[in-house]
């Protein structure tokens, strides 16, 4: 088995293992509930654990299917860090500051160097969303750090 396939197989097993753990936790918690509220979650959790085990067993083939293309670690780290980071900054600093910082920062991190276009997109996107949402009675996120 190639190294890429080994990594992919391991990654898939971890993914299925986490899902199986979710079902196991759900089963354990459901046991503490009264009869009616626990019935359906118990059934589904039991089936889920069984399916997770079956998927793990089936994953142990001699020749696994073609592994997904390997991802550069830096790009993977960026993909996993940026969405939650934007969410946190959105909460902390509010929509306007978070978005005006995020769009150019991310464009530059992804290697784009046409600064005028970045500026244009930043202003356009921020204004479009910031002015559009209040029209339908939705306020954009306000900065939590500066709420009195």
């Amino acid at each position: 088995m190639s190294q890429q396939n080994r990594h992919s197989a391991l990654g898939e097993r971890i993914f299925v293992g986490v899902i199986g753990l979710v079902f196991a936790i759900q089963f354990g918690l459901a046991m503490s509930y009264p009869a009616d509220p626990r019935l359906f979650p118990l059934i589904v959790a039991a089936i889920g654990v069984g399916l997770a085990v079956a998927t793990q067993i089936r994953g142990r083939e001699k020749r696994p299917p073609k592994a997904p293309e390997s991802i550069a670690p830096k790009r993977l780290a960026l993909a996993l860090i940026v969405p939650p980071l934007y969410g946190i900054v959105l909460w902390a600093l509010g929509f306007w500051v978070a978005t005006i910082l995020a769009i150019p920062a991310l464009s530059l991190l992804l290697g784009y160097r046409r600064y005028f276009l970045i500026l244009l997109v930043t202003l356009g996107m921020t204004l479009a969303v910031g002015l559009l949402f209040p029209v339908v009675n939705i306020t954009v996120p306000r900065p939590a750090l500066f709420v009195h």
């Binding site: 918690l29 459901a30 009616d36 509220p37 399916l51 993977l76 934007y86 769009i103 991310l106």
Partner: protein, 501 residues
């Protein structure tokens, strides 16, 4: 009936009604494109205005927003893999794949045409078959609803072109997620870990935004490039229009599924959209084409969701049972104006009822015309380079998730399910299973408990009700058949591997 419809058309085309239809259609189109907003929100915000309008104008406003918004959700589904409305979730599978091939305009042409024809079928069903279909809907009780929900989950396994166990695992995960929060039957908080915020269920829209939008932007960050992998747009809008007529069977099946899902209360356009796609995958000679830009993968779901939105008015107007949030608002608007839903509505207020039906037909024509006018420009989004597009997608996705309930918890869910969707796609787990499980979890559990209440705890009710028993047998056949096919293909694969060795 024809003369009533013609009279209704004359009424709908009166200037003040036509103005309402045009403006509402434009508003619905705009709102439906933006993830996290959705036509039902616009309907709810504008609902108080209906108090001061004539009954027909008020109903036409709500219905036009609903119908146009349901169609326009497919625009963002195709261009940026984010369903603008949950009822366009399945359109992302093949619509976005087409966009990646540079055929966004073709995909939009398919979507507009299929939506229009689905809307026509739904409208004509509403006009011609309201009463008999309402009688059918009355036969669907809790046991039948439970069986339908189970069938919906099993169709996921059957339609999956990969491993059956992976598809069922995702379906079970979706069900497990639907249990978080206060249970629908007894109001008991479950899996909340003491957090009050978790007592309201995990929102379907933030999960959808995470699984589709956030996961996709993560892929774009990793892969780079543009949505259109070739960097160009191929094909024209009218190529898509023509493509629809090359697949009349897919159009017919999608419309029929939409009508059935609309007539049965509690099922809805989201289920119709997903079921239609899965059904097409199942009946296709080459299921491997789906998820890679198969035209039928857009035709059937788009015809289905639009047919469903119209057909859902059947139980709403004839039985007073709304099928969704949108139809619930229409029902309230009907009652506020002193009208009473039921079979008598048709005979006591024919001008209103047939004016409403005709107005919906006019609305369908209008969203098609506006869609054809605007779609070609929106397709240009697929040519934007990833470093510019990804940040915009990130903003639209997470603000859209926030807009759902104006809560940061929904932003967190969108991010979490973005990671889940990214991993699932990477390892070949179909996220549609998770979506179906989450969507059907509440209905499955509620109808399960209601059935046991009716039968005094006897599980035999699911076998004793003929419709429920038939549907459950079909579901079992689907799973077993799919498992056998799966085992056979794995055996063939291992024989091939042995031969190669």
């Amino acid at each position: 009936m024809l003369h009533l419809l013609l009279n209704g058309l004359v009424t709908a085309l009166q200037w003040h009604n036509l103005e309402v239809i045009v403006l509402s259609t434009l508003l619905g189109l705009w709102i439906g494109v933006i993830p996290g907003l959705g036509p039902v929100m616009a309907m709810a915000i504008l609902f108080p205005f209906t108090f001061f309008m004539e009954p027909l104008a008020g109903l036409l406003m709500l219905a036009s927003i609903h119908v146009a918004g349901t169609y326009s959700g497919s625009i963002s589904a195709i261009t940026i893999n984010v369903p603008g409305d949950p009822a366009s979730a399945a359109t992302t599978f093949d619509g976005y794949a087409m966009a990646r091939q540079g055929k966004a305009r073709v995909a939009m042409g398919i979507s507009i045409t299929a939506s229009f024809i689905g809307a026509l079928v739904g409208s004509l069903t509403l006009i011609a078959a309201s009463k008999p279909l309402a009688a059918v809907a009355l036969h669907f009780g809790p046991a039948e609803n439970f069986a339908l929900a189970v069938l919906g989950l099993c169709v996921v396994a059957a339609a999956s072109t990969g491993s059956t166990s992976k598809a069922l695992l995702m379906g079970a995960l979706g069900l497990a997620i639907s249990f978080v929060g206060t249970d629908d039957v007894l109001g008991y908080p479950r899996f909340t870990f003491g957090f009050v915020e978790l007592e309201s269920k995990i929102g379907f829209v933030p999960v959808l935004i995470g699984l589709f939008a956030v996961a996709e932007l993560m892929h774009l960050m990793v892969d780079g490039g543009k949505i259109s992998e070739s960097g160009q747009l191929h094909g024209r809008l009218f190529d898509g229009v023509r493509e629809v007529f090359r697949h009349p069977a897919a159009l017919a099946r999608g419309s029929l599924i939409g009508v059935i899902c609309g007539v049965i209360p509690g099922v809805g356009a989201v289920t119709a959209n997903l079921l239609a796609h899965m059904f097409e995958t199942r009946v296709a000679r080459e299921p491997g084409r789906f998820g890679k830009g198969a035209p039928e993968g857009i035709i059937a779901p788009e015809a289905s969701n639009n047919a469903c939105v119209h057909a859902a008015l059947i139980p709403t107007l004839t039985l007073g049972i709304p099928a969704s949030g949108g139809t619930a608002l229409v029902l309230v608007a009907v009652t506020i104006h002193g009208l009473r839903p039921g079979p008598m509505l048709f005979s006591s207020q024919p001008d209103l009822v047939y004016g409403f039906f005709a107005g919906m037909l006019v609305g369908a024509v209008l969203f098609t015309v506006f869609g054809l006018l605007f779609a070609r420009w929106l397709a240009l989004i697929t040519l934007a380079p990833a470093p510019l597009l990804v940040p915009c997608l990130l903003v639209v996705s997470l603000i859209g998730a926030y807009a759902y309930n104006q809560s940061f918890l929904d932003v967190a869910w969108a991010v979490i399910f973005g990671v889940v969707g990214f991993m699932a796609r990477r390892y070949g787990f179909p996220v549609v299973g998770l979506v179906m499980g989450l969507l059907l979890g509440g209905l499955t559990e509620t109808s399960f408990h209601q059935s046991l209440e009716i039968s005094d705890g006897s599980y035999l009710i699911f076998l004793q009700q003929p419709i429920a028993a038939t549907i459950l047998a079909l579901a079992a056949l689907l799973v077993v058949g799919s498992g056998l096919l799966d085992a056979r293909s794995r055996k063939a694969l291992s024989v091939t591997n042995l031969d190669e060795a």
